[in-house]
Symmetry: C2
Subunit: 114 residues, 2 copies
């Protein structure tokens, strides 16, 4: 049994998936892997996600201590940037290998435009 943030997981692999699993979280982490991004910048990089879902996933990642949210303006219009925490940075190799495999598979079978 593995535990993290009060949740229990039957396997070390499922713990990680509990944190970065779901349809969008790895995509968010992938885009934040080497620079902070504003909310609107993330939306541009993820055109098919809804505002609500993006917002929810960001909050979940923040609660899990993977990303941090920094507000720059005291009053609207707000400027908010998201970036990886130190813990989040330890996920970079994981996210990278996930992303690499996606590229690998597309290049292997079928190929993209090649």
């Amino acid at each position: 049994m593995y535990q993290f943030k009060g949740k229990e997981y039957p396997c070390c692999a499922s713990l990680t998936m509990g944190i970065i699993g779901g349809k969008w979280k790895t995509v968010i982490l992938f885009h934040l892997r080497d620079k902070a991004l504003r909310y609107s910048e993330l939306r541009k990089k993820m055109p098919t996600v809804t505002e609500r879902t993006l917002s929810l996933q960001l909050k979940t990642l923040e609660d899990d201590g993977i990303i941090k949210r920094k507000v720059y303006t005291p009053k609207p219009p707000l400027k908010v940037e998201y970036s990886l925490t130190d813990l989040g940075k330890t996920l970079k190799p994981v996210v990278q290998s996930i992303a690499d495999w996606g590229v690998f598979v597309v290049e292997e079978q079928g190929g993209p435009t090649v």
Copy 2:
């Protein structure tokens, strides 16, 4: 846009997650990472999964060409073994890094029994 098995993904990372995402698939792949296992052996290693879900996830992974199913007996009681395909073996580094991070996190914060 990335494609695999007729499905479209907005990001290379989401493609991979489309294949190994979900609550159980990485756990299955983790247990199959270096040896073939029977259905009942997988169940023992994953006590909290239901038969239906395990069966469903195995079939999905098989359809995606990640694992293969080999039947050894012509009549019941059946002996069936699951193992990684060549494509599935290319996922081993990904699954390994996912599993490693789970172990890392547990050791970092809180620690297990230590």
